[in-house]
């Protein structure tokens, strides 16, 4: 029954191309809601009951194969995360795409809606399919549909180029996953995730896991596999960036978790691999985010950072499994997996608001903005809440997942041996640094974009975006606050899930302990909010009968200041860049004042922060290879005699090799 309904939705999705332009959006929304309701219902059933797995047969007409969909607790969780963000993203898209309605033809919109729907469907199928071949097919559909979504503005040349770069990198990733699955196929005769258990029981675990890790890691964006991410997110329309960053890159995390469920030996090594790459991603991701001038690129680097936090949780969880430490396993995995949900909420929220800012100012350059809070108060408040949540500050949701990871580490310290202590301490320091740097980054992003005086005419003229774009985001805010203040509701199912899928001993009372801790955090969060409200109300009545003056900002005696003298994003990050430059290689270009210059001419100052990994890992080898090919191109003379000569040499060579018995 459910399978039939699902296939029906898939089939009539083609209808998007056939109907009138005005109703396309609503038609897609209708299909989306049907699938969201259907899958959410099934997932809820699995997640909040004792049914371990739910199997659905998907018979596709005129197709010999039957697809088997399997919902276990892990899949159910990811289905719910995907559903929420995709739905909010599509509601937001209505307002965001409105200005494009006049400039783009209906076919473009049909393709856009169609691929959006299929990106959603492919993500759902990715987490539900266990069979290797069908998995690869839907993984490919996911890459293709997101590629088409990214190049929505394909008439811009650099966007098309970015899109193609994205497509290539996705296929490099797929190659790794496919290779890994084929190895399993070769050894066990079956190409599926269920067969992994058989393979892992009698083969080396860490080698195959590394293949999977690279393949899924490209999707997730672990440094140094991340280079597609900071380019693709700014190029895509904002609702697409929100969905891609919020949930699509989490498919990589899902893949890693799915493989981990079958891993049996080499756990310590695998845990260390995940942990080290996650720490690097977390710290370098946020470090590179700080120096960005493009608001969406900044957020894209933050996705890398958050993938790092998720990875730290998972890596610690695996180390916990390896060292027989159920506390670390439970808290590490739970923190990481809860952060998947948290990140999907606040990151999509931030991307949506970056989109609103883009629509209002037609710019993504932070340096051109300022003072937007006055004209766009709702967007500003939404962005602020997103920023506080992503920095992991209480009483918002980001704190809860980071707290779980921290707690797992601190609790394991006293029983850990030397190496474990050092690993845990390194992770603690890493996570702390990530937190501090995130605060640095988001005070910059929020402060420079929304506060102070406008730095350009466009920022001055900005208008608040339509309510169509604002209201869906309240849903994200609601979840952010509920997870922050009533974490109990969300952490408990996650605990149950982790205990079940990793088969943790039941006698441990860590879950109950932690839940009572979380209750106290909720209480303190509540006290905090009440204190703030009390102080503000008191302040309001206190100031009522006091003299209030409005004046200029203190200018230190200088009264003719202009908006240009404000701190900019670059100057805000300057002291940090001085510290971090050995790693980031930020370059400054400025025109100097010469000695004989009596009347100063126009001067300019620029900073560039190239992605170090992109230059050294992608650009340099590619350029070298292109150079090599150019040299070989000498052979391409265009004269037929030469080509006949090549053929002759080739045949001679064959003859020689056959004579020597080499071929």
């Amino acid at each position: 029954m459910q399978g039939l309904l699902f296939i029906l939705v898939l089939t009539i999705s083609i209808g998007i191309f056939l109907i009138k332009n005005q109703v396309k959006y609503y038609f897609t929304l209708f299909l989306l809601i049907i699938s969201v309701v259907l899958t959410s219902f099934l997932s809820f059933n699995v997640l909040f009951s004792n049914i371990p797995v739910l199997d659905i047969q998907l018979d596709i007409p005129f197709f010999q194969n039957t697809f088997q969909l399997t919902i276990d607790k892990l899949s159910a969780y990811f289905v719910l995360v995907v559903n929420l963000t995709v739905l909010i993203g599509f509601l937001y898209a209505k307002g965001y795409l409105k200005p494009y309605l006049e400039t783009k033809n209906p076919l473009r919109f049909s393709i856009h809606y169609f691929t959006y729907l299929w990106l959603y469907i492919s993500m759902i199928l990715v987490v539900l399919l266990r069979d290797g071949l069908s998995f690869i097919i839907v993984w490919e559909i996911m890459a293709l549909s997101s590629f088409l979504l990214v190049i929505f503005e394909a008439e811009k040349r650099d966007i098309l180029k970015t899109g193609i770069n994205y497509l290539i990198q996705m296929h490099v990733g797929m190659l790794f996953i496919l290779t890994a699955l084929l190895i399993v196929n070769k050894a066990t005769g079956e190409m599926s995730f269920d067969a992994l258990k058989v393979y892992f029981s009698n083969h080396s675990n860490w080698l195959l896991f590394s293949l999977f890790f690279i393949g899924f890691g490209i999707k997730a964006g672990f440094i140094p596999l991340h280079t597609w991410l900071p380019d693709a997110h700014p190029a895509a329309p904002s609702h697409v960036s929100g969905v891609m960053s919020g949930v699509m890159i989490k498919m990589g995390i899902y893949g890693i978790l799915r493989v981990l469920l079958s891993v049996q030996t080499d756990l310590l090594l695998i845990g260390m691999i995940i942990l080290v790459f996650s720490l690097i991603s977390g710290i370098l991701g946020v470090m590179m985010a700080i120096v960005q001038h493009d608001l969406k690129r900044l957020l894209a680097y933050h996705s890398i950072e958050n993938i790092g936090i998720i990875g730290i949780g998972i890596g610690l969880g695996v180390i916990g499994l390896a060292t027989n430490n159920p506390t670390l396993t439970l808290l590490g995995f739970s923190g990481g997996i809860l952060h998947v949900l948290n990140h999907s909420l606040f990151k999509s929220l931030l991307f949506f608001n970056a989109g609103s800012v883009y629509q209002a100012t037609h710019s993504r350059n932070i340096e051109q903005m300022g003072g937007l809070m006055r004209n766009m108060p709702k967007t500003a408040v939404l962005f602020l809440i997103g920023s506080l949540a992503i920095c992991g500050l209480p009483p918002f949701n980001g704190f809860i997942s980071e707290y779980l990871i921290y707690l797992g580490m601190f609790k394991s310290l006293s029983a850990a041996n030397l190496y474990q202590s050092i690993v845990i301490l390194g992770s603690i320091v890493g996570l702390t640094l990530i937190g501090g740097l995130a605060i640095f980054c988001f005070t910059k992003a929020f402060g420079i974009v929304f506060l102070g005086n406008p730095r350009s005419e466009a920022a001055k003229q900005a208008k608040e975006v339509s309510n169509n774009m604002i209201s869906p985001q309240y849903l994200s805010i609601a979840f952010i606050l509920v997870i922050g203040l009533a974490s109990y509701l969300f952490v408990k199912p996650v605990f149950n899930m982790i205990s079940e899928i990793f088969v943790l001993p039941e006698s441990e009372n860590i879950p109950d302990h932690t839940l009572s801790n979380l209750a106290k955090i909720s209480m303190t969060g509540g006290i905090f909010i009440l204190t703030v409200v009390f102080l503000l109300v008191y302040r309001f009545y206190h100031l009522k009968n006091k003299a209030i003056e409005i004046g200029e900002t203190w200018g230190c005696g200088y009264t003719a200041g202009t908006f240009k003298q404000q701190y900019t994003a670059t100057s805000y990050a300057d002291n940090y860049i001085q510290l971090a430059n050995p790693l980031l290689r930020t370059k400054k270009h400025s025109t100097k004042i010469t000695e004989d210059e009596i009347f100063p001419a126009k001067k300019s100052f620029e900073t560039h922060s190239p992605d170090v990994f992109k230059t050294s890992l992608i650009n340099k080898p590619t350029n070298w290879f292109l150079g090599l090919l150019k040299k070989i191109a000498v052979m391409q003379t265009g004269q037929i005699q030469h080509y006949i000569l090549y053929a002759f040499i080739f045949m001679l060579l064959l003859l020689l090799l056959t004579y020597l018995n080499l071929v």
Binding site: G371, M373, P377, L384, C391, G392, L393, P394, L407, M409, K411, L413, S414, A415, N417, L418, S421, I424, L425, V429, T432, G436, I439, F440, T443, K444, G447, L451, G452, N453, N517, K520, I521, T524, I527, F528, V532, L535, R539, H542, L543, K546, A547, I548, E549, I550, G551, E552, T553, W554, C556, G561, Q565, Q566, Y567, S571, Y572, N575, Y576, Q578
Partner: protein
């Protein structure tokens, strides 16, 4: 409960003692001990001037900052009693709550659109980011030593564990907490609250535009923060199973000592050069790492 009230009392005279020390050392008559509290009272009576650039963030930030300081007081224990709210990992909550206040203080400074306040804001952001690892490594050291993960339990167990080298971490902990408190409160040698040039300020330049009620809240917050760190120092130094009256007396003695130390430092020391500050702050992390290694050795993990 006791901790909460004692911190409130200590905050009343703490800033006054710093002022008195400074004036005595420099040979001035100087203000009385309660002058800072009187200043707060005066500020509360005054009206306010707001910059026309500022908006709602500037208005709510001081209240948020004070609220988070009050909430962070809830997890500080005293003696062998538990804090008002005590749970595993409450120091994580403590640190992140302080960071929340900092976040608001920084964006409030950026809200003024001033060419100076951004300067203070980015310095504050950088230094507080660099100091956090030191705090967390120190707490990790305590957690590893005692096997507990909340302020109350850690300090309760601190002197009970049969370890003869406790004094080492007490002293390292004491030193680090004093330094962290100095950085968190923007005092010497990181920042000089009495400097008169905006270019060299950190915290002061961020609150240039605050006046009246908001300024009073910021002052109260600073006083409370000193007392909170004073309370933490007491917890590190004084065994929790001693007589409660003796502990209370020691609590105030340590607060006074802490205040006098700050006063003396401010009288005799110059502020660091601004670009030396990151190194100075990172040194603290290095010292707390040494504490960690010492615990590794003493618990037989490194050399058994």
């Amino acid at each position: 409960m006791a901790g909460f009230i004692l911190i409130l009392i200590a905050a009343l005279f703490f800033p006054g003692i710093i002022l008195r020390t400074r004036s005595i050392v420099s040979g001035r008559k100087g203000p009385g001990i309660f002058q800072p509290i009187k200043d707060v009272w005066v500020l509360l009576q005054k009206g306010s001037v707001f910059s026309k650039t500022t908006g709602i963030i500037f208005q709510i930030a001081p209240s948020v900052t004070l609220a988070r300081i009050i909430c962070s007081m809830l997890v500080i224990p005293f003696s062998n009693q538990h804090a008002l709210i005590s749970f595993e990992g409450d120091f994580i909550f403590f640190a992140y709550l302080l960071a929340l206040g900092k976040f608001f203080a920084i964006i409030a400074a950026l809200d003024t659109g001033s060419s100076f306040e951004g300067m203070g804001a980015n310095r504050e952001a950088l230094f507080s980011m660099l100091v956090e690892p030191a705090f967390f490594i120190l707490l990790a050291t305590f957690a590893m030593l005692t096997g507990y993960t909340s302020f109350s339990d850690i300090f309760n167990q601190f002197y009970i564990s049969n370890n003869h080298y406790l004094l080492i971490y007490s002293i390292i902990g004491f030193y680090l907490l004093i330094q962290i408190a100095m950085i968190e409160n923007s005092r010497l040698p990181i920042d000089d609250p009495k400097t008169h040039l905006e270019l060299t300020m950190i915290h002061e330049v961020m609150i240039l535009d605050n006046s009246g009620f908001d300024k009073a809240l910021i002052h109260v917050g600073t006083y409370l923060k000193f007392a909170i760190y004073g309370a933490l120092l007491t917890n590190v130094l004084v065994p929790a199973h001693w007589n409660i009256f003796l502990q209370t007396a020691l609590f105030f003695a340590i607060q006074v000592f802490f205040a006098v130390v700050i006063g003396l430092l401010e009288s005799f020391r110059a502020r660091n050069k601004m670009n030396k500050n990151p190194k100075f702050v990172l040194t603290l992390s290095a010292i707390s790492f040494i504490a960690f290694v010492v615990v590794l050795i003493l618990t037989g993990k490194l050399i058994s």
